[in-house]
Symmetry: C2
Subunit: 567 residues, 2 copies
Amino acid sequence: MNIWRINVNSQQFSIEDVPTSWQHLGGRGLLAKILLDEVTPTCDPLGPHNKLVFSPGLLVGHRLSSLDRISIGGKSPLTGGVKEANAGGRTGYHLARLGIKALIIEDRPIEDNWQIIYLSKDSVRFDDAAELVGGGVYDSASQLRKKYGDQVAVALIGPGGEKKMRAAGIQNIDIDYYPSRIAARGGLGAVMGSKKIKAIVIDAEGCESPPIINLEAFKDARKRYTIALTNHPQTTSYADYGTAAMANMCNGFGGLPTRNFSQGTFEHVEKIAGEQLRELLIERGGVSKTTHACMAGCLIRCSNVFGHENGERVVVSPLEYETIGLMGSNLGIDDLDVIARMNREVNDLGLDSIEIGAALGVLCDAGLMTFGDGARALQLITEIRSLTPLGRVIGNGAGLTGQIFGVERVPVVKNQAISAYDPRAIKGMGVTYATTAQGADHTCGMTIRAKVKHTQASGQIKHSREAQLKMAGYDSLGACIFAGFGFADAMETISGMVNARYGTEYGKNLLQQLGRETIENEREFNHRAGFTKADDRLPEWMTREPLPPHDTVFDVPEEELDSIFDF
Amino acid sequence: MNIWRINVNSQQFSIEDVPTSWQHLGGRGLLAKILLDEVTPTCDPLGPHNKLVFSPGLLVGHRLSSLDRISIGGKSPLTGGVKEANAGGRTGYHLARLGIKALIIEDRPIEDNWQIIYLSKDSVRFDDAAELVGGGVYDSASQLRKKYGDQVAVALIGPGGEKKMRAAGIQNIDIDYYPSRIAARGGLGAVMGSKKIKAIVIDAEGCESPPIINLEAFKDARKRYTIALTNHPQTTSYADYGTAAMANMCNGFGGLPTRNFSQGTFEHVEKIAGEQLRELLIERGGVSKTTHACMAGCLIRCSNVFGHENGERVVVSPLEYETIGLMGSNLGIDDLDVIARMNREVNDLGLDSIEIGAALGVLCDAGLMTFGDGARALQLITEIRSLTPLGRVIGNGAGLTGQIFGVERVPVVKNQAISAYDPRAIKGMGVTYATTAQGADHTCGMTIRAKVKHTQASGQIKHSREAQLKMAGYDSLGACIFAGFGFADAMETISGMVNARYGTEYGKNLLQQLGRETIENEREFNHRAGFTKADDRLPEWMTREPLPPHDTVFDVPEEELDSIFDF
C-alpha cells in the first residue's frame, strides 16, 4: 500500500512510501494523523493550504461484511476543525485494490477549469469536467457511468459542493450505481469544490486485493466474525427495518427531534417509523426494496430502496432514520413520500440531509415556513438549487441560518447540526455531540443502547467515552457501526483479522488503541486550530429550555465534559 | 458616582455603591472589568446572560473638549468576544450628571413588549415603545424629541438592532439632535434589541456635574490642556477637513481600501477626499457645514453636516473618512452624494457603515453588484430594510456575507470588518486589527502617524502596542482620539485632571496603567470565551495576495503578534 499524492494546480502526481508513523493507521485514524502532520490547522479550509484526503480503513478491500467503508477528511469549512466523514459504496474497496492507503489531494488550480481525476493502476489522469458542472449528482453519476463504464467507483460532488456550501458532502456510488452513499458531514464537498474537482473515478481493473500475510488465520477470523454477525439479533432487525427502526425507539425515549427540537415526541411518529416504511415499501413493490446492501458482501443490508408509487422509478436509496428525524418530525412532516422527495433533492444537490433538515427547522422558528408544510420545505430546497440568497443561507447549514435570521433555538455544536437524538433526553449523546472534535455527530459515539437512564446526567461520560473510542476504532478499520454486531460477540476477530492481514501482533485492546490515538490527534488538530473547552458545549438554550415530555435540560456538568479524555 | 442596575425582565432597579476594584476605572476599562466580573464569557450574546453596560469615561461630565464620550459594552454577537464601542453626542455627559459610573442592563423580558428606559434623577421608569418599533432611527429620534423634549440625551437602536443583526450599533443624539453618533462596532445594537429596549432616554434635569475634589488644580490642568489642544496644528486641519483628510493620506500610502481590498489606491480619490468634501459643502451652503461639534464644548469640531443640494435638508451628519473608504473607494464609488445617501440609510437602519460597506464589497466579489454601481448599492441597503434574506445577510456583516456567498476575499478579523486602512500597506494597523481583543478596529490603535515605513514588517509591533495602550487609556477617560492633540504637548494634564477630579495621586504613567489593565481584562475575557492566538490573525488571503501598488502582503511574523502583550 502507498500514499498517492496529487497536486491539482501543477497536476503533478506521486506514489510515495508510507511513513513509519502512518503505517499502523487507516481510515479516520490515518486522516487525523495526516492532517496533523501536513495541514496548517489555522488555514482557510477553502484555501490552497487545506488538503482533501481519502483513506480506506485497515480492513478494507476484502469484501468483509460491513467493512469496506471509505473515510474522507480535511479541515472542515463548517466547523473550522478536523473532519472525517465516512461512507459505504464502492470507493473504499476500489482505492484499496489500487494499493492506496491514502489519497492526498493538494492545492487548488489557479485557472477556473473543473476537472475529473481518473485513477487507475499506477496512474492518474485529469479529464475535463466542463460538461458536468452545475449538474445534479444523479445526472452527473449517470454521465460518468456512460463515460467510464459500470465497473469503476466514483466519488463526486453536486452543485452544493461546487458553490462551496458548508453543508456539502461527497457522494459515493453504491453497488447499484445509486450515487447516494454520502460522506455527508462537515462540508467536505465544499473542500472538493474549492479544488475544482467534480468527480474522482477509480478504476481498479487489473488490480488485486491487498496482500494478506497470513491467509489461513485471516480466513479463520473472518469466518468467526461472519458467524457472529449473522447470528446477532440486531442483524435481522436492521435487515427488516433498517435504521428507521430508531424512530419509535427515540420517540419512546422522548428524544425524537420534533418541530425544531422543541419537543421530544412526535404525535404522528407511527406514520414515519420503520414499521410504516417497511409496510409501505412492501405494498408498493416494483423497484422498492425493504433491504438492500450499499457495499458488496454486506450481510446486514440495512439500506432500502424507496420507489415511486408507480413502482418504476426510484425516489431515493436509502431513506435513513437521520433524514426521517431531521426532515420529518423535526419539521412536523409526517409523510414518508414527502420526506423521500426532500431527501432525493438534497442528495441531488450533494448536501447533508441532517444539516439541511436542521436548517429548515430553524427557518420554521424564523417564520419562513410552517411546521408540517412539506410543499414549502420542497420549495425552500429548490431555492438552494436556484442559488437565491435564501438558498445559499440554507445550503450553509443550520448554524449560519440561525445567525442570519436571529433565531436562538439553533441545534448545533461547533456549528454542525445535532442529529436525530435530542441530547436533553438522551444525555450520553449530548456528551458525544459536545466533546467529539468533529462537531455534533451521532456516529462519533452512540450511547442509545447503553444500560443507563438516558435522562440522568450521571454516568453518561463513561458511556460516551467508551462509545467514542470504539467508533474511532471502527472508523479506522473501515467498519460500519453495524459491524459492531459481529464484533460484539467476537471482539478478538478484530485483532485476528488485522494481525493476519498485516503480520502484526496486536492484542485485544487494538480497537481502543486505535480509537485513543485517533481522538488524541483530532483533539490536537483542533487545539492548534484554536478550539478550547468553550467549544465543547451544547448550545446554551439546551441548558435552560426543558424538553417535553420529560422536561429535562442538558445538565451534564461542564467539568465532566472537560475531563472526558483525561486518559 | 454609583452603579445603576436595571433588570429588564423583572423591571427591578437598584442604585449600588461602586465596588472598590471598579472605583479607579471608567469607560472602556470599567466595561472590561464589569464583563469579566459579571458575564459568563461563553454565554449566548443574544441570550439572557449577556449584559449591556454604559459607562462614561473618568473625565466625562465637565464639558472638557473632546472628553465626554460614552463607552458601551457587552459580549459581542459579531465577534463572540469582549466589546466596547464608544461615541460622542450627549449620552456620556448626561449619564455622568445623573451620577452614573456604569449603567448595567441585565436579563431580557419574557414578554414581547418593547420598552423605553427613562432615566432621571435617582429614578428609572419603563415606557412603552410600541409606537416606535420598526421605525428608522431618524423618525424614532424625532418622536422621542417630541415626547421627552430637547434637553434629554437619547441612545437608541434602529430596525437592525431590533432584528438582532450583528452589524447593528447604538445611536446617540448629538448637540443638534442628529441621532448619528453611533457606538457602531460589534453588534451592541443587537444586544440592546435582544433585551427589547428601543431607546434609553436620559434626563439630567436637576442634576449637577460630578464633584471635583480640587477645583483649582482641575481648572489649571484644564486650561493647559485646552491651550495645547487649541494650538496643535492638527486641530485646525480637522476643523477644516474632518476625518475625510485621511482619504488622500491613505491613498498616498497605497492603503486606501479599493474594490473590496483588491487595490490600495483609488484612481478617483480626489472626488471623495477631504478637499473635495470641503469645497462641496462650502459651495452647497444652506444647512451644509464643513465643521460641526458632536459634543458641547468641543474645540476641534471635526464633524460636518452634509446637506442636500437644495440647501434645505440634511442628508447626513457627519460623513466620516471610514464611511468614505468603505462605502466609496471600497465599492469603486466616487460620488460623495451617493456615499452620503448610503450613510444616511445605514444610519437610519441603525447599522455600522464600516461593516455594511465591507459586506457590499464582498457582494461585489460574489457578483451581486458591480463596483461603482451606486444605485445597486442603495438598492442592496434597501433589502436590509425590507428584511429580505439577502438584506438579512448583509445586515449581519462582511464575515457572514462572505461565508454565505463563498467569497474568499473577506476583510475581517474575529469576524469584524477591517476599516479603511489596508493592513498590507499600513502594517502597524494590521498588528492592531489582529491583536486587539475587539476584532478589527482602527480606533483600538492607530499607527498611521507613526514614524515608520508602513510597508515594512519590522518595528510595527512596538508602534501598535503603544497606540493600543494609549487608546485603551483614552477610551477609559472618555476622550476622543483627537483629544490626543492636546495631550501630545501636555501629557501631564491627564493625571492632573484625574487627580484633581478624584483626589488621587497618579503619576505620568496613568494612561499606560489604565490601558494595560483594560487590555489585560479584555484579553482575559476573550481567553475565557474560547479565543486563542489562532484568532489573533489577519485573514489568510492577506498573507498571500499582494496589494497593489506596493505589491506587499501582510508579513509581520506570527510569533511577534503573539508576544505583543507580554508586558
